[in-house]
């Protein structure tokens, strides 16, 4: 299947648009359906799609395993860190109101940052799981 030129060209054409669609879902989660969770899965799906056609090794060069592991933790850090920042500003944990002058702008900002954290973690976990499953070598 990997030798078929149709798959190769289609995967090359679709790789970018899938990621852009993922980013759209990520940052328009407050206006339409979607959010960090779905966006993370969509972006991870783009990488998995690419690796199915071109092999695992090329995707590992693009997105190394160690990098994926760091992103996994970074997402949780962004989410939990937002809460810490609100405490520093003197509000409750994960209360976004002090981030901006008007309450709705503050909520927008908080929601976008928090969703980014969700998206990063979900993307990295999905890709990491795929790496682990397809690179797994059973002991005989």
């Amino acid at each position: 299947m990997r030798e078929n030129p149709v798959f190769k060209i289609v995967s090359k054409i679709l790789f970018g648009p899938i990621i852009i669609y993922g980013l759209y879902v990520q940052f328009h989660g407050d206006y339409g359906p979607g959010g960090g969770f779905q966006a993370g899965v969509i972006v991870a799906a783009a990488f998995i799609f690419y690796s199915i056609i071109f092999g695992l090794e090329r995707v590992r060069k693009l997105m190394p395993v160690i990098f994926v592991n760091y992103i996994m933790a970074l997402g949780v850090l962004v989410f939990a860190g937002t809460g810490i920042v609100s405490i520093i500003f003197g509000a409750n944990y994960l209360d976004y109101s002090p981030f901006a002058y008007k309450i709705y702008k503050a909520q927008h900002l908080g929601i976008i940052v928090v969703e980014l954290g969700v998206g990063l973690t979900v993307f990295a976990v999905m890709l990491g799981l795929f790496y682990a499953f397809s690179g797994f070598k059973p002991k005989k």
């Binding site: 359906p33 976990v125 799981l129 682990a132 797994f136």
Partner: protein, 197 residues
């Protein structure tokens, strides 16, 4: 009325898919059918106007998990193990639990019933208050990220922990790979991918 019959059609499709999942022996066919099951479930959610849930179900249920199952299938035989042992106790237990669930389903409120307990507690407040306060049209995102931000943090931590757990179980190492390299020990990931190419 149309929505009702569409739902009846989709739910009977679910029953048919489940029947075939039980009957078939080929594992690849079963994985493909479970993806179809999730997609049908997503269609049901769209029909019930739960677009966010449908989106998640379609992306995770029929997309990623099917791929992960297929990746795991490489290490499994193609056919399901043959088992003929028939257990009367299991059948009785299944029938009893099934009857109890069907009985409980009759006392659920109707779909879209405004007097249902789920619609009386905090939901009216979210719907009335969130747009004037936050100027964000999607109430689901509001509830997830703002009203219940702490719950969502918990969910992200669960995803993170589950991912880390599975990766450590399967590869034997994640962050310690660098140290393994320096000790010239074999790194499992590298070997497996070399073999593949």
């Amino acid at each position: 009325m149309v929505e009702f019959w569409v739902n009846v059609f989709l739910i009977s499709l679910l029953v048919v898919i489940t029947f075939y999942i039980i009957r078939l022996k080929s594992l690849i066919a079963i994985v493909a059918l479970s993806g179809a099951y999730s997609l049908t479930a997503a269609a049901i959610f769209v029909n019930m106007d739960a677009v966010d849930v449908a989106f998640t179900e379609a992306a995770v249920g029929s997309g990623i998990s099917t791929i992960l199952f297929l990746a795991a299938l490489r290490y499994l035989p193609l056919e399901e193990a043959h088992h003929t042992r028939f257990s009367g106790w299991s059948l009785t237990l299944c029938i009893i639990v099934g009857l109890m669930l069907i009985n409980a389903a009759f006392s659920l409120p109707d779909f879209g019933d405004p007097g249902a307990p789920a619609h009386l507690h905090v939901a009216p407040r979210y719907i009335e208050e969130s747009y004037p306060l936050f100027h964000i049209p999607n109430v689901v995102t509001n509830v997830l990220a703002s009203y219940r931000g702490f719950d969502t943090l918990g969910e992200v931590v669960v995803v993170f922990t589950a991912g880390i757990g599975v990766i450590i179980l399967l590869t034997g190492s994640t962050l310690s790979m660098r140290f393994r390299k320096s000790e010239n020990l074999p790194v499992q990931n590298k070997e497996a991918s070399k073999k593949e190419t």
